[in-house]
Symmetry: C2
């Protein structure tokens, strides 16, 4: 994408129709009409505008372009990381639903980096697309502002961005599934439950789960029945958390971050601890490996498919309508799914 | 994307510059020059060409567009399935390498469907891109022909397409890693080795591994030391394969398809069979779960990162050069990595 490097061009790093009009000394309407082959202008004026467009690297507004030439039936999808099976599920469910509706997807990833996210947004704006669905990095960035400024339909899924309340979003509510999990543990005789958090990730949704546990565990199990252990993903941290939990009186453990659950599952196996009888285990996230290993791991599912499909529905509604964009907040309830990794206390 | 629905327009479902020229009754050179604002033509001729372009929904050739307005620094990446960690690794390594070189990626998936692959190709051709890297479905399709016809730089990775020999490709050679694995097993005293194939998948590369095993196992272990068991991924098939292997005299098993390895790992655990001592286990594909479970699973790695990076290198070379496209075949050697799932025969 051509970004405005000339002095005074584009307050946000890209060239607008206003920049072209100012440089060429004509109105924005004239620029628009000349580019669309409309209106009556002298050849020198047309030539000047075309040269200015070329020199500044102006890319006609995608939204206006889409409105002019009908819809392009393409949308951008941005997720943080395709290595993470949860995001792979989320993006695949969105792509498939779009495909079924005759819409193509142009997928990109941010690698959890604001800079890389913004590079994707800047590039996707120069493509022929009708809208974008994004799992955003959690702050107002230049790239996000650019998408909003262009009035390109935009929907957030899984996360939202404080300060951009006008963007519709679909997020997951950790509480319903977590409450079901805690009630199930209680009914199986568990009186003390450990929770493994992962604050070093800096993820809004992972931290929100920890908050939900701190709030719900005392309500369901009573005061003092729950403890939170922070893991940072390193081997030493995993070993430390495991030792702390085994030294405690906890008979069950809930993981807020699924990668920690996979790692500790393996460490527990290595210590010959019987998962499901000696220690019960539950993890957030419905990832395939939890169905493949033995015993199968009970989960609190974020309903990635439902979230993705809801996001697609909102985006397609917005693309199809002439309504002014407005805020819209959808919360998808998590669900607990009991599996063999959870058993009764002997 | 606008597809040609008018009678007689576009033999492959989309509008070409020839269609515009024929409809407008001018030469293709005239169409090209008018669209690029070059040449000397009367206003009525220009207007006729512009209207014809608009009416037919002609999208200027991406390659010509890219050559005209310099490069777009965007490429398309097509993989079969983001749920498969191997393809998630492959596409992520390509996207990251492109990002480091200032090139954006527009990722799509085919869901192992020729129809969906072709829908991606047809759509990506209407975007502003410099080239495409694809893990293709294994046959010459309309979508593939369209990309080749447009002379858009194209590289295949992981698979190739018989009949499209002019397209450069980077594939994996299963033999080096498999030979290393078999020699390691032999040095640990294993005399009989089972192999689990997955012919129902219809994957060229998975079937090629089976072929390699049939060829190499007798060479390394001697005649009659190896047997192949076909698994179709169903529970009953997995149980059957497991029983057959346990009933045989095999002391080690190699999996051609990593999902089968994950499932059977779990079933072996359920039967309290000590992996690494009672039965040694090796799988193709370097996926994360093999490093997370205990014992860690020995792998024959396809070197997805190396393959992806090599594919990117070839594509960027082709985009940057004026050379005629020509065939180029790169084979990346697989590598065996010993882990605790492989042990000595007692």
């Amino acid at each position: 994408m051509h970004t405005g490097v000339e002095k005074g061009v584009g307050s946000m790093g890209f060239v607008t129709i206003r920049d072209v009009a100012r440089e060429a000394g004509v109105s924005t309407t004239a620029v628009s009409q000349i580019l669309h082959g409309k209106g009556r202008f002298s050849e020198p004026t047309k030539e000047l505008v075309r040269r200015t467009v070329q020199r500044l690297g102006y890319i006609p507004d995608s939204r206006a372009q889409a409105m002019r030439s009908d819809r392009t039936h393409m949308v951008g999808l941005l997720v943080p990381d395709l290595h993470n099976p949860y995001f792979a599920d989320l993006v695949s469910s969105m792509e498939t639903m779009l495909y079924e509706r005759g819409v193509g997807a142009l997928i990109g990833t941010s690698a959890e980096s604001v800079k890389r996210q913004d590079a994707y947004f800047m590039r996707i704006l120069s493509q022929r697309i009708d809208g974008v669905i994004a799992v955003p990095q959690g702050q107002v960035s230049d790239g996000l502002k650019a998408v909003v400024k262009r009035e390109l339909p935009l929907v957030f899924v899984d996360r939202r961005v404080p300060g951009l309340e006008q963007v519709p979003y679909v997020v997951s509510d950790p509480k319903p599934g977590l409450a079901q999990a805690l009630k199930q543990l209680k009914s199986f005789g568990h009186q003390r439950v450990a929770y493994v958090s992962h604050p070093s990730l800096g993820s809004f949704s992972v931290d929100e789960r920890t908050q939900a546990f701190r709030e719900l565990a005392p309500q369901v199990l009573g005061p003092g029945a729950a403890a939170v252990y922070a893991c940072d993903g390193s081997s030493s941290s995993q070993e430390q958390v495991l030792s702390d939990i085994l030294d405690s009186s906890a008979t069950a453990v809930i993981f807020g971050y699924s990668r920690d659950a996979v790692s500790l599952f393996s460490l527990l196996r290595g210590r010959n601890i019987a998962i499901g009888s000696q220690l019960s285990l539950i993890s957030f996230d419905d990832i395939e490996v939890f169905r493949l290993i033995s015993p199968k791991v009970a989960i609190i599912s974020q309903q990635a498919n439902r979230m993705g499909r809801q996001g697609v529905r909102i985006l397609l509604d917005r693309i199809g309508s002439d309504l002014e964009p407005g805020s819209q907040a959808v919360s998808i309830a998590t669900r607990f799914q009991l599996r063999d990794s959870v058993g009764r206390v002997a």
